[in-house]
């Protein structure tokens, strides 16, 4: 080979290597950027069915003054139904710390709570055949995070905090054979776990000395060695390592100790106004302060009283607003998470325009959430929601309001994945929306 041809071949090879995309084992064309915008994401599911009319459109005044700017005073006729709430914990409304999408949409599928939650955590719409007795078929954001984030993180970094039981415990991992319990989130429903019944069941465990602990570990190891089956996930749910399980045990013990010492009696100074949603958020704050998780999802659903009592729905909306502000204040006062966290707030779906026949004592008609599944016919107001994204000013555009029809529920999962820097690691076959096509991207620099 002469010198001229040698140099030419080298040049062609180098150019080819640079130009040709290379196929990675996961089926991706390019390697992950791995660039994180922040190291922590909190997803607050402002759920239970919140209608835009009462939230961002201020139809009954500003019921959410800790989150939203504008609106007038609360309508006089329902004002007596509002419980006392002290001034909010933030110096200014959350809206000022980020970007508000006033015309977000839950575009497809049944407008049911579990459907909405499933869409929110999987990033994919579900149809009418969703089985509430099973884990979601599509992987959750928790599984994407634990499988694709580099380096891989344990479940202590990944939490799903639900305000109630029913089907919701099933949302911490899917039945997808490529993901599942091995990549799931730690799930907790603290309003049930940290209760009198919970204390009776778990609050007074026998303790062993170090020698006794070594003794039972050796016997257990011997017994397990003589048995073919292993009780692990998925039968055993999410599995933490022995060390992490010990940390969780201690965390639960500490929560019971706090409960016994009265620290959960009026913890926010709101007195009897403290509702189930507020307690759930308070326990999420305990997790934040203890574990500083990289990904935490927490929900609220008390506004669903709106099926029977509109004024109470409005009242619980105020409390959910107060809780959201408190959550952000705790994040900002937690070393390691302050100025390094993005919080995404969105309802799972809205409520109907046409009320049902239940009238409350203030003469208001109640609201269901039954938009037809086709996504176009009939009363589609239950698909109209908002989304508020708050975070560090270097990451999230501050004070921006997007008034146009922009964004949908399925964009939250890819957005979280992008914020934590692993969206490119998720295989295209997963079927979630590409972050670059998400309207939510407008919120970020």
């Amino acid at each position: 080979m002469d010198r001229r041809r040698f140099i030419k071949n080298i040049g062609l090879t180098a150019a080819g290597a640079m130009a040709a995309p290379y196929l990675l084992p996961g089926g991706r064309l390019f390697a992950a950027s791995g660039l994180r915008k922040v190291n922590h994401v909190v997803f607050l599911l402002f759920a239970g069915g919140v209608r835009n009319l009462e939230s961002v459109q201020f139809n009954d005044g500003n019921l959410m003054p800790n989150m939203l700017i504008g609106g007038s005073a609360i309508s006089n006729d329902i004002l007596p139904a509002m419980d006392f709430l002290p001034p909010g914990p933030l110096s200014q409304p959350l809206q000022n710390y980020g970007t508000l999408f006033r015309q977000f949409r839950y575009k497809e599928g049944p407008t049911g709570h579990y459907n909405g939650h499933t869409v929110a955590v999987t990033g994919q719409y579900v149809s009418t055949d969703l089985n509430i007795r099973e884990a979601p078929r599509n992987p959750t954001i928790f599984e994407y995070y634990r499988k694709h984030n580099s380096p891989q993180q344990t479940a202590l970094n990944c939490w799903w905090v639900a305000n109630t039981l029913g089907p919701y415990p099933a949302l911490n991992y899917s039945s997808d054979p490529n993901y599942g319990a091995g990549y799931g989130a730690n799930f907790i429903s603290p309003n049930f776990l940290i209760s009198q019944d919970g204390f009776n069941a778990l609050g007074n465990p026998s303790s062993f000395t170090a020698n006794e602990q070594a003794a039972f570990e050796s016997i257990r190891k011997f017994a397990n060695g003589n048995f073919d089956q292993s009780y692990t996930n998925p039968s055993a749910g999410i599995t933490n390592t022995t060390t992490e399980a010990a940390q969780l045990q201690q965390f639960i013990s500490d929560l019971y100790a706090k409960a016994q010492s009265g620290q959960f009696v009026n913890p926010w100074g709101v007195g009897p106004s403290m509702n189930n949603d507020m307690f759930n958020v308070m326990f999420a704050e305990e997790i934040i302060q203890r574990f500083k998780p990289e990904l935490l999802t927490v929900n609220m659903q008390d506004v669903d009283i709106g099926h029977f009592n509109f004024s109470s729905y409005a009242n619980h909306l105020r409390k959910a607003d107060w809780a959201a502000a408190h959550l952000w204040s705790v994040i900002q006062s937690t070393p390691g998470m302050a100025n390094d966290t993005v919080m995404v707030i969105a309802p799972e779906h809205g409520r109907n325009f046409i009320p049902n026949t239940s009238i409350d004592s203030y003469g208001r008609l109640a609201l269901d959430h039954t938009s037809p599944s086709d996504g176009v016919s009939g009363d589609q107001m239950a698909r109209e929601i908002f989304c508020l994204v708050v975070g560090p000013p270097t990451v999230v555009k501050q004070g921006l309001v997007v008034n146009s029809l922009s964004g949908e529920s399925t964009e939250i999962v890819p957005t979280i994945a992008n914020l934590l820097g692993f969206d490119n690691n998720i295989p295209a076959s997963a079927g979630i929306k590409n972050y670059n096509q998400c309207d939510l991207a407008q919120a970020f620099f």
Partner: protein, 162 residues
């Protein structure tokens, strides 16, 4: 002539005896599948089954329906089932009325104690190796109390299956 006859006779004798087919004796045992002692158990207990059986094993009574209902609620309120089961068992062990054989039994007829424990918790006899191992552990380790042994076996994989 006489020698020839003798030679033919010897030759025939050797020919007849030497051609006898040698019998190959093969000594072996029938094929035996090696299985672990609890290998017939392949089904994981449900939550209710686990709680009901654990209560019955420790307290010798049927769990009250209301207690079962409350425990079941707490059980589903946390995602790591192994951890929560462990915690529920530890809480059971601290309650009054637990019927675990006392320390005297452990130190007494140890083999009988081991076998009875296996029958109670695993629904089978302890095999020779299990008896030997546990007996040695009890003999050598003062921390190997009855409560420790029961807790270890009740949190083992086999206890979670039937």
């Amino acid at each position: 002539m006489k020698n020839s006859i003798l030679l033919v006779f010897v030759f025939c004798f050797l020919f007849i005896t030497s051609c006898e087919k040698e019998v190959d004796y093969l000594y072996e045992v029938n094929p035996v599948a090696v299985q672990s002692p609890g290998s017939i158990k392949s089904n994981a207990k449900s939550t209710v089954e686990f709680l009901t059986i654990a209560w019955a094993d420790l307290f010798g009574t049927q769990i009250p329906q209301q207690e079962l209902s409350k425990l079941n609620t707490i059980y589903v309120a946390f995602g790591d089932k192994k951890m929560i089961e462990d915690r529920i068992l530890l809480n059971f062990l601290s309650k009054s009325g637990v019927q675990i054989p006392t320390q005297t039994n452990v130190a007494g007829d140890t083999l009988l104690y081991i076998n009875n424990t296996y029958k109670k918790l695993f629904n089978r006899d302890a095999n020779a190796f299990e008896k030997y191992y546990l007996k040695e552990q009890i003999r050598l380790n003062a921390s190997m109390t009855s409560e420790v042994i029961w807790y270890a076996l009740m949190t083992s994989d086999e206890y979670r299956y039937y």
